[in-house]
């Protein structure tokens, strides 16, 4: 089992996943990260779960502005437009 490389332990790797995704690891850190997941199916599974977590979070939708607020805005827009026209 190659659960541990001399540079980085699984327990450390799980702290670096977001920085890895954001591309903010140093070159050395990134190389170690990649070398570790190449040899470690468990961390590969972990990184995949983080990816799936991000994707699932991306499926949430936000609250919409209410129809009343929207009508008010369109009303304000017309007032603004008419003010410009004159």
């Amino acid at each position: 089992m190659s659960l541990f490389t001399k540079d980085i332990a699984c327990q450390e790797l799980v702290e670096l996943v977001t920085a890895y995704f954001d591309g903010s690891l140093s070159r050395t850190e990134r190389r170690r990260f990649r070398a570790h997941i190449r040899g470690c199916p468990h961390c590969t599974a972990y990184v995949e779960q983080m990816r799936q977590t991000i994707e699932t979070t991306g499926r949430l939708t936000e609250e919409d502005i209410g129809p009343e607020a929207r009508d008010e805005l369109l009303e304000a827009f017309r007032g603004w437009r008419d003010g410009r026209a004159t």
């Binding site: 089992m1 954001d22 779960q49 949430l60 369109l74 827009f77």
Partner: protein, 241 residues
């Protein structure tokens, strides 16, 4: 604690490139394609153009405003004021930043002024630092081998692949929603902007006035907790080996 502004049902609105983790450092984008056109139409008084902007940014603006002010009513007022600011300032918009960045700058300025008047208990940046400094492991330390083992820090109870069909089920999104709702405030705000709204790291640290490092730490904490909640739901046995 502020309520979370998320509602069912989860119409999968934006299943696009945003769903992929963004690789590479976030950069503030210049004027996005289409900005010039919509600005021109707005200046010409085209109501459809204004509606398009409301559809594009309205909900996101409400959520961001909620991060600075005490209740929904105040947030709605801030959003309305922002739109008026956008209309009154549109002739001065020069396209040096994207339209979105410009609009959200107006929004956060108004929201902060308003938030100070409402005397929110703690500025967001202080909250963010406090949450980022707390020492929280991403994964329960019991799931790794201890210092006396031959391979300290290696998985003792490793994660296992999740069943794809259950991951995609509607109920699973509810698990994510609940997990986000339980997060400390700053972590929740950052994950909403980054992973729900798809903002870049720089857009988030600018809007919330936190450092890039804190932004990332908060996001990482938030994602790690949501992952743990998903694992507990999808693969409960592995959590209690």
């Amino acid at each position: 604690m502020a309520e979370l502004a998320l509602t069912l049902p989860f119409a999968a609105k934006r299943q696009d490139a945003r769903l992929m983790p963004r690789i590479g450092p976030g950069r503030a984008k210049g004027a996005a394609a289409g900005d010039a056109e919509i600005v021109e139409r707005l200046r010409d008084g085209d109501e459809r153009a204004f509606e398009e902007l409301i559809d594009r940014y309205g909900a996101m603006m409400l959520r961001v405003a909620r991060m600075f002010v005490k209740d929904r009513a105040s947030a709605e007022e801030v959003v309305q004021e922002t739109w008026l600011g956008v209309l009154n300032g549109i002739d001065r918009f020069e396209g040096r930043s994207s339209l979105k960045t410009w609009i959200f700058r107006i929004l956060t300025n108004r929201a902060k002024t308003r938030g100070e008047r409402d005397s929110r208990s703690l500025p967001f940046s202080a909250l963010a630092s406090a949450e980022a400094e707390a020492d929280e492991p991403s994964v329960d330390p019991d799931r790794f081998l201890g210092p006396d083992s031959a391979t300290p820090g290696a998985w003792a109870a490793p994660p296992r692949a999740w069943p794809e069909d259950r991951l995609l089920a509607k109920e699973t999104i509810g698990v994510v929603e609940d997990a986000i709702e339980m997060l400390p405030e700053a972590q929740r705000d950052v994950i909403l902007l980054r992973d729900v709204e798809g903002w870049s790291p720089m857009e988030v640290s600018d809007a919330l006035e936190i450092t890039d490092g804190n932004q990332r730490v908060l996001l990482h904490r938030a994602r790690s907790k949501v992952r743990a909640a998903l694992e507990e739901y999808l693969d409960p046995e592995v959590v209690q080996p």
